[in-house]
Amino acid sequence: MSHTTMNLNLKVWRQKNTKTAGAFQMYRVENISDEMSFLEMMDILNEQLITTGGEPVAFDHDCREGICGMCSMYINGKPHGPWQANTTCQLHMRAFKDNDTIVIEPWRANAFPVIKDLTVDRSAFDRIIQAGGYISVNTGNAVDGNSLPIEKSKADESFAAAMCIGCGACVAACKNSSAMLFLSAKVSHLALLPQGGPERKTRVTNMVAQLDKEGFGACTNTGACEAACPKEISIANIARLNKEYIVAGLTAE
């Protein structure tokens, strides 16, 4: 494969802190290798800013291998950029062409306030998980996996839901700023397992209540979340969440 380099125009959202209004700034980066990751390209931009006495662009990242969910960038009108089933850190510059202009925005939702530039506060997700995304009944010591009464297909579905890395792209993608895909993944992966059974009603009740308190919107099943999710969490989980909620509403005291 031939190796190419490119020059790019970046239109980046700059915002000092939560309280002040932000604005776009134009930057030019040159000699970017197509083998670089998007975040490496951002590192070069920041080196450039530092050496010229500017303020580097703040952005979140941690693992840089697609598993932690920190790298929240809304690139050219899509969370995590143009590729499907992909995180920003795993996006590579071969997705772009020489002289492209790339628009980079933070996740936008009132429930995810901007801390600085492209960094947003996603602690709302932590509080939703704290409201019920765990098992607190005593399930005993680790048992032989084969002794658990669960079908393979259910276990697989649960695992697929547990793939959610809590990145928040679903909220960023949704016109309603709804966190329902995230919540449904968290509710589903426990609801599908025998260990999740005893607390399923209180879990869904408390997690939905917390979600509303955090100020996310309601789901209208547009499907944008599923299309943007780096882990391809299925929107069918949202229907399962709704069923869990109806059952809890009708039968819980």
């Binding site: 628009v103 939702a109 429930a111 009603k201 099943n221 944008a224 299309a227 709704n242 869990e244 109806i246």
Partner: protein
Amino acid sequence: MTFKQMFTSSVGKKLVMGFTGIFLILFLIVHAGLNATIFANDGGLMFNKAGHFMGSNAVPRILEIGLFLGIFLHIYQGYLLTLENKSKRAVGYAVNYDKGSKWYSRSMAILGTLILLFLIAHIYHFWTPSRLGGMGGIKALGEVEHNGVILHNLYAEMDLVFTNPYIVVLYVLACGSLGYHLAHGFQSAFKTIGVHNKKYHAMLTSLGYGFAIFIPLLFASMPISFYFDWIK
């Protein structure tokens, strides 16, 4: 969880939309079925008899109250939901994400508003004269006699209303909005009320597209057929 919580949380508001939406879908089946009797080509006799049954029998009259309540709830909750959801993103994007979803799934409130405007005209054209005709200066419908029973001639009223090309165009456009509203709404409503089984969901999605095409086309064919005098 209290029932109040159940129907007023973010999931609960959607439950109201879903249940009223499915109720309206059922209503559309009855409405389209009854109206299709105009195609019997019997000078509207079967249609007027059906209209008489719906207007004089207690069960459809009670269901009619439910229908008005359902429409009101659906519209009220629909606007509330749309405005609330909009308010959750104070600072918008420079580039919107429109590739991940269908335009009509994002335009339910606009499509619904077009349906609502049509609905007002529609109620004024047919429901008002048929239910309230003769009261307080509202024009009464003509009447026909069949086997000693006096029937409202709703058929003649349709024939009359649909001589106006603007009204025909309005009705056909409304059918288009309804089609797109249903193309998203039909399958969405079942997701909302908790159908997550992939097999059923695939079936309902296909059925929904079929419904969203067939029912509006059937409705649209009525004003068109009257306008061009295709039915006798």
